[in-house]
């Protein structure tokens, strides 16, 4: 593979610093991402956890450079791949990085595939365009890839159309397409939300296996605390466009440091327990056009005191090494 100028192999695989994204609409400016920070190492799984509208998908789109602009604008921040800031890179080079080093899969695999071409053609196209392969070689590679994502009878199915695949199989095709150019980073945006649990288990298992084989960095964007507990190494919890807590997966589940994380964990029913009281987070997430002053979570927070309602918003306190929480009272939250 060709070497990009400025690549520093010692720099983190992917590092997002102080990312700000806003949407300028006729109803006002919606601040979708207000300073997101995280990093990713090879072979590691980082989960970005949050509810709809928290900015997790927009963050992914900003990293991939597929943000709809207008109305979306990246107003501040850096997205560094091995030390190079993708946001300031010329468009053509950036496209190269995007195609070769960072790939993404989406929730809705059916609409991400073109219904009028066979799956094999769409896969082969990737190789023909980016690797300059001949039709025959590209087709061979396509079959190989479908085999890798464990689609039975890959050789026959390569000439099927997307609608002939089941939901789970389509997601496999999407994964095959994303992995075609051997990316170092894979961003999976709610990859299993539309699937049944048994199929979800298959897909998550496949992703974990492929990740291990390739030592790939995986960013898993999801709202499902169960899936996260099963696969993530580290978690960034997002709320109203900010990463409010970042920690290793065991720490978050055993001792959350941010009231929002804590409340989320207490509000989900568990399969292995009966009769637990579901603690409700009252109210709704704020409108992104009208984020509360101070800590965005303060109107819904049971720990909130005066400083939480005033600017500046709580900084990312270092709770422990490699662990941060944006809460003035993280010690109390940890103590409970």
């Amino acid at each position: 593979m060709d070497v990009l100028p400025g690549v520093d192999p010692r720099a983190p695989l992917l590092e997002v610093t102080d990312l700000h994204v806003e949407f300028r609409t006729q109803y006002g400016v919606a601040k979708a991402v207000n300073g997101a920070n995280f990093w990713l190492s090879p072979g590691e799984t980082l989960a970005i956890l949050g509810e709809s509208g928290c900015g997790k998908s927009v963050t992914a789109q900003a990293i991939m450079g597929i943000l709809d602009s207008p109305p979306g604008f990246i107003t501040k921040g850096e997205v560094r791949y091995r030390g190079i800031d993708l946001l300031t890179l010329p468009e053509e080079q950036r496209r190269k990085v995007r195609a070769n080093r960072i790939a993404m899969i989406f929730q809705d695999a059916l609409s991400a595939l073109n219904p009028v071409y066979t799956v094999g053609f769409q896969l082969a196209e990737v190789f023909r365009i980016h690797r300059g392969m001949s039709r025959g070689d590209a087709k061979k590679k396509a079959v190989e890839l479908l085999d890798q994502v464990k689609i039975p009878a890959a050789k026959a199915r390569v000439s099927d159309y997307p609608h002939q695949f089941s939901g789970g199989m389509r997601q496999r095709v999407m994964i095959a397409m994303a992995l075609a150019l051997d990316p170092e980073v894979l961003i999976a945006d709610e990859p299993t939300t539309a699937l049944d649990v048994t199929v979800q288990a298959q897909i998550m298992g496949l992703l974990a296996e492929l990740q291990q084989q390739r030592n790939m960095g995986l960013i898993l964007i999801t709202h499902d605390m169960g899936v996260v507990a099963d696969v993530a190494d580290r978690i960034s919890v997002m709320y109203a466009g900010k990463v409010v807590e970042e920690a290793a997966v065991y720490d978050i589940y055993s001792r959350p440091a941010h009231p929002y994380t804590r409340a989320l964990l207490e509000s989900i029913p568990r399969l292995d327990m009966k009769g637990q009281q579901l603690n409700v987070i009252r109210g709704l997430p704020p409108a992104l056009t009208d984020v509360p002053r101070g800590c965005a979570f303060n109107p819904r927070c049971r720990y909130a005191k005066d400083p939480c309602r005033q600017d500046p918003a709580p900084p990312a306190y270092a709770v422990a090494p490699h662990r941060t929480a944006r809460c003035h009272f993280f010690r109390e939250v940890l103590g409970d």
Partner: protein, 313 residues
């Protein structure tokens, strides 16, 4: 911001919606969709511009003498293509008739033809489209094939046959025949649009919810499906209105439309087309009036459609 907190604390989980808050605060009077739509229309500039235009045209149609004292049938070949003079501010046409007076008097036939034929087409189209879409199955199959057959008939041929059959009496001015011809031949587009809109809203969950409560087909159609599928239909009708005013001229030109010395914008336009390079005024003015009228109805349709969509409020 303290305000926001207190509200949230007191009324959670019922506040802080992502949606823009409604402009009107607490209201005690019961409201209906039509009532809300009227409230909305009253504030719409487009609506008032359209209304003013429509009222002026309607006045023209009802009482042409309010606008001109000249006689549109007082023509003299000596004045052929003469420029504006006196009351004839638009000049004279190829027969030496007063273009201004003819345009004013033409409004009546054009408006009647346009509005009534569109109304007929609208009623047929709505009934056919709504029944085909709502009942589906064999009703849909029969009605849809009927629409297909209607569309396959060459329009002018059918128009000529129908119109001449309908006004066989030479003393008849042909108005009713033209209206019926247009109404009976032009409902198909509306019916198709209505049918597809009905089919898509029929499968919405709120229709299922109504059905579950035990609502009959009448309530389902009128309360749930029609209001949610009529938007595109209104647009089709407003366009059809302008088209029909024009088509009346074509029929009249072919001798099967308005007969005798009838005056309408359509006739005036088709008469003046051939000589437009010699004198533009006899073409431009009736065309302008026709254009403005169609524009007014399109704006009116748009404003009404928007007013009946609560999401745009």
């Amino acid at each position: 911001m303290s305000d926001l907190n207190s509200v949230t604390a007191a009324e959670a989980p019922d506040q802080m919606s992502m949606q823009p808050r409604p402009r009107r605060g607490k209201q005690d009077k019961p409201r209906s969709l039509a009532g809300d739509a009227w409230n909305d229309l009253r504030k719409s500039k487009i609506f008032w511009v359209a209304i003013v235009l429509v009222v002026v045209v309607l006045l023209m149609a009802a009482w042409p003498t309010l606008f001109t004292s000249a006689d549109p049938r007082d023509c003299a070949l000596s004045r052929k293509f003469a420029g504006p003079s006196g009351g004839a501010i638009f000049g004279y046409d190829f027969q030496g008739c007063d273009v201004y007076a003819k345009t004013i008097y033409g409004a009546r036939n054009s408006i009647i033809v346009g509005m009534v034929s569109t109304a007929i087409a609208g009623v047929i189209g709505m009934v056919v489209g709504l029944s085909a879409g709502f009942f589906g199955g064999s009703v849909d199959a029969v009605l849809s094939r009927f629409i297909d057959i209607m569309l396959a008939i060459p329009f002018l041929l059918a128009g000529i046959v129908l119109s001449s059959r309908l006004s066989a009496d030479p003393n008849d001015d042909g108005l009713i025949a033209v209206i019926l011809t247009l109404g009976l031949l032009t409902w198909t587009t509306g019916a198709r649009v209505m049918r597809s809109a009905v089919i898509s809203s029929k499968n919405q969950d709120y229709v299922a919810a109504g059905r579950m409560l035990g609502a009959g087909p009448g309530r389902l159609m009128l309360r749930h499906i029609l209001p949610n599928s009529i938007a595109a239909f209104i647009v089709v009708l407003t366009i059809l209105l302008g088209v029909n005013i024009g088509v009346e001229a074509t029929l009249s030109f072919l001798g099967v439309g308005l007969k005798g010395d009838a005056i309408s914008w359509g006739i005036a336009i088709s008469e003046a087309t051939g000589t437009a390079r010699v004198a533009a005024a006899p073409l431009v003015w009736p065309a302008t009036f026709l254009g403005l009228t169609v524009l007014a109805f399109i704006m009116l349709g748009d404003a009404i459609r928007d007013a009946f969509d609560p999401k745009l409020r």
